[in-house]
Subunit: 318 residues, 3 copies
């Protein structure tokens, strides 16, 4: 883990440093950052979190700085999100080809053409077929089966008794950018990870992005079909079923036993309640209640959608 003096960070990202020097080891949101982490404030939506933050430092416009607690050093900038992006690069682990052979239990069956990064931990009874890549610091639980040509990026964790099908990518960078006034996009390095719990099955050619901070989580017993997109910081509840080509944008969460039909999708930053079902091709644009069935785009209750379809078709007779 990298650590930087706060003054050094400020210098690297081009902002002035005032106040107490401290060591910063990472970045996080206002609500989750601790005293060794830097945060940022760029949306009035989160203003109530300012007085409560435990962040050691916060990138913030000067006019809001008085709302911060004394434990948070204000770092003044008119572009907090852009400066966050610049800072994120400092904390990104170096992507390299360095490799160390992990310790492998005798009950494992690991193809010699699996490519390992450094410091990989593999449980007992694990099978990994050839052509898969297992990045730095990945942890794989007992009895998990990883098919050929899977890619697991650094720091991700896979539980026990899980199955990952070929072509699937776990832990690729979430889709996060700050934007300059000239319309350029500056990468926010995604320094979180993906946690896949026990008894999960992920189909072929899925893409599950790592979190920007913290973790993207697929909870135990969930089963994914093929070609599924999971954005950064999503949390998928236990025993959730996602059919082929489902896509969830970032920071959306589901309750347990949610079912989403083929080619359905969801916008980001919303919640789909326990046992909710979304029909194929449905598009979720706001949070959905538990135990109901939804359909259409924008998704509405299925029984209403059926009525609406009847009304729409009745137009043909007019």
């Amino acid at each position: 883990m990298s650590a930087f003096a706060l003054s050094a960070i400020c210098e690297k990202i081009g902002v002035e440093f005032h106040g107490e020097e401290k060591e910063i080891i990472g970045l996080h949101t206002l609500s989750e950052a601790n005293e060794q982490e830097m945060s940022f404030f760029n949306s009035a939506k989160y203003i109530s979190q300012l007085p409560l933050t435990k962040a050691g430092a916060v990138l913030i416009e000067s006019k809001y700085a008085h709302l911060l607690p004394s434990t948070s050093t204000a770092i003044f900038t008119d572009e907090p999100y852009l400066k966050l992006a610049l800072a994120s690069a400092l904390f990104a682990p170096k992507i390299s080809t360095l490799s160390t052979t992990p310790s492998i239990d005798e009950n494992c069956d690991i193809d010699k053409r699996v490519i390992f990064g450094q410091n990989v931990t593999i449980g007992s009874g694990v099978t990994i077929l050839g052509g898969s890549y297992i990045g730095d610091d990945v942890i794989i639980g007992d009895n998990t089966l990883i098919h050929a040509n899977v890619t697991i990026y650094h720091h991700c964790q896979i539980g026990k008794n899980s199955i990952i099908h070929s072509g699937t990518v776990i832990g690729s960078d979430g889709y996060g950018f700050a934007h300059t006034k000239m319309g350029e996009h500056v990468k926010i390095y995604q320094n979180g990870n993906v946690i896949i719990e026990d008894s999960v099955e992920i189909g072929a050619n899925c893409a599950i992005d790592r979190a920007v901070f913290g973790s993207t989580i697929i909870k135990k017993g969930s089963k994914f079909d093929n070609l599924i997109q999971i954005g950064h910081n999503c949390i998928i509840g236990e025993h959730t079923l996602l059919a082929g080509q489902v896509g969830l944008a970032g920071s959306t969460s589901t309750g347990r036993n949610v079912v989403m039909g083929g080619q359905s999708g969801s916008a980001g930053h919303l919640h789909i309640g326990d046992f909710a079902q979304i029909a194929g091709k449905g598009g979720v644009t706001k949070s959905l209640e538990a135990k109901k069935i939804y359909a259409g785009f924008p998704a509405i209750e299925h029984r209403v959608w059926l009525k609406l379809q009847a009304k729409i078709h009745a137009l043909l007779k007019k």
Copy 2:
């Protein structure tokens, strides 16, 4: 191929065994099972098939057992589908890294970094680029070209003069689960395969699932674009064209020369007639007639869809 005494299967899946001992070598549907296979009955929809089944044994609720022919041993259970799932694990081939170098014709061009399972059969004039994985018992026909980083699971068959583009996965497990009363999902091992016939081209990063029983079939001359999802037990008719990001749910079939536009999809267990065309983003929810053009979701005839769109837009003027 695995074989088990019927009494041993019953013990392993936790049901009582009564009746004639016999050897069981696999699982199949009521209509397709033979005397050495076990089947299951869990939907009244298939009740007419009970007296006709040739299955050696059937997982069935006791109240229906009298409908079975004397050649089928009834295995009583209140949860036939869940017990089928447990039985399916017994017949699943062990996924392993065992590898034997196949016999390779001098007219072939096979990269030395292709990974083979055991007992692979390769025709004449075949090209396979590096990073591809060819599983146990796969058969590849003459003059077929397999690009880099393709994955073909065990027991699948690829015809002659075909092209498979990079990242595509053929034979990954179909999406099939039985469900416990507690909401957990129990894997139904997918012990079928995929058969790709001659002169087929499959684009990049597609996922074509193996059948639960029998075969998923892509018939001769069909051409697939990229990122296409084919569910288990689909049968794609000859010379069918599927554009990018099309998805078909399980057990759907198409006639010959069907055309599906980009991002269109179909629910499962239906048939799309010969020469039918579905416009981009269309969603098929019931079987479609031959030689017609369809659009929209739920898909209707294109000419009706055009009228409907006009009527819908007329609402704006009211």
Copy 3:
């Protein structure tokens, strides 16, 4: 690069040759072909291009041949597109496993399990993780990062400071076929390439097809999420953002700073203007103006779409 006598091409594709012998080194459209290239005319839409073409030869129905300039040899056929397909096979480079180790700068970090074709050029400071395949004549610019299990087909170019995530396929064949009267599809070999400019990021498991002639181009600063489909000959403008599971059909172009939401898509052969935005699940069916926001399928202006949704929902009360 292959070269053929025009008479030899005619013989191979089964058409009669009359006129001046010349050497042909490739195929291209009427507007782009030069005197060493052969073109084709199969749509009245392009008739105005006939007198202006610089093509050395043109596959054409005899009745239109008088419109060609004297520098273009007319090759008579009733099926110009089908004959083009046959000719395209002649110019397709042989896909082979031949490999030569490229020259690698000491500032690079290239895994020894990367698979190279022949004549690859790699800049300074490039990182390529294991399991990736880099085809013949590929050029990769300085400081670009290619994650594990990426596939880049022959002749493609990747700029500087770009990032390609795992599972992505760049340069797979575009989806192009001519059709026989019997309903068979004849491959049009895709002899163009893909050019990805500087500071581009491509997510996981995307598929970006090579051009049939010329180049598919992703301009500088564009950022793609996961599972994105880009058809042949698309041109994506600078700083364009494509969210997860977006799909563009062939020959569509975008201006700069276009934004397309998740699961949106576009038909082919159209243009999306600078700074246009398309909401998630939107489907573009005709060219869109710059600086406007669109939604729905078929995509209309977002503010109109909102009104229309209100009108549609009002039907429920009738």
